[in-house]
């Protein structure tokens, strides 16, 4: 696991405090599914997910957005050992849902861009670097059981 400084912990908590889980939970799918449309291969049963309007109104995506961000909340609250906590999630995505792990990287990127739209200049270069370091660790944790 990555070792986090006090400054890094403060920065990550600071970003996370400003995230409205409901709002961001919907918007991140709009970015992910429009910018990287091949992601929709995992959402065959979700109905209409093909335009921004439809995505933002889709209740299944809204629910899943909350699930994803709740998992991220777990990571924020357990920065020293979330890799272990994420092992069952990683295994589930590999063995059951069969998600190409490159999608974790793409989703992380979309989360960052969505947060950039909200936080704007508050996401200064140092905050961006720290937040991206944190998401990279989360992505790595999600990759951990792909073997």
């Amino acid at each position: 696991m990555v070792k986090w400084t006090e400054e890094e912990r403060r920065i990550i908590r600071g970003v996370w405090e400003k995230v409205d889980i409901d709002e961001i939970g919907e918007e991140l799918w709009a970015r992910a599914l429009i910018v990287y449309p091949w992601i929709d291969r995992y959402f065959g049963s979700f109905g209409d997910i093909f335009t921004t309007t439809a995505i933002l109104k889709n209740p299944k995506l809204a629910a899943l957005g909350k699930v994803v961000l709740s998992a991220l909340d777990t990571a924020v609250k357990n920065m020293d050992n979330f890799k272990a906590l994420y092992a069952p999630l990683s295994r589930q995505h590999y063995e059951k849902i069969k998600v190409d792990p490159d999608n974790f990287r793409l989703l992380a990127e979309c989360i960052t861009i969505t947060i950039a739209c909200k936080l704007r200049a508050e996401l200064n270069p140092q905050v961006q670097a720290t937040w991206q370091k944190f998401l990279s660790a989360v992505v790595e944790a999600m990759n951990s059981q792909y073997k």
Partner: protein, 148 residues
């Protein structure tokens, strides 16, 4: 790392041109920000700039070079129907003189996109985002053309 080329549709070109016209007054500033963030978040990119004394986001050298890059991107948009031709000289420069690993073009593109989102959150919709992303990817491909 190679990326399959996804060509720009007529719609992509229209979207990119319209958005660039909108952000034109701030492109120099955006470029400086993007380069500064790249150097901060991806410290391996600093290895290409050891000849500069200051690699912080506040550095005058960083801001100036970011502006230069965005100027070149703006020029390329003017020649969006022939990116390869438009970037031929720059491609030679990056291939033979600068020898920048093309993987870094993706990294810079991410930072440009992030800064565009920061500055224009309402305008940088998912639809604009995807066209800009595709454009920057095609630009990177054209820039890598002369490498080998």
């Amino acid at each position: 790392m190679t990326v399959a080329e996804m060509s720009l549709s007529g719609k992509d070109k229209t979207v990119v041109k319209a958005f660039w016209d909108k952000v034109a007054p701030k492109t120099a500033e955006i470029g400086g920000e993007a380069l500064g963030r790249m150097l901060t978040s991806y410290p391996q990119t600093k290895t290409y700039f050891s000849h500069w004394s200051d690699l912080s986001p506040e550095s005058a050298q960083v801001k100036k070079h970011g502006a230069t890059i965005m100027g070149a991107i703006g020029d390329a948009i003017g020649k969006i129907d022939d990116l390869q031709g438009a970037l031929s000289k720059l491609s030679e420069l990056h291939a033979f003189k600068l020898r920048v690993d093309p993987a870094n073009f993706r990294i810079l593109a991410h930072n440009i996109i992030l800064v565009l989102a920061m500055y224009y959150p309402a305008d940088f919709t998912p639809e604009v985002h995807v066209s800009i992303d595709k454009f920057l990817q095609n630009l990177a491909l054209a820039l890598s053309e002369k490498y080998r």
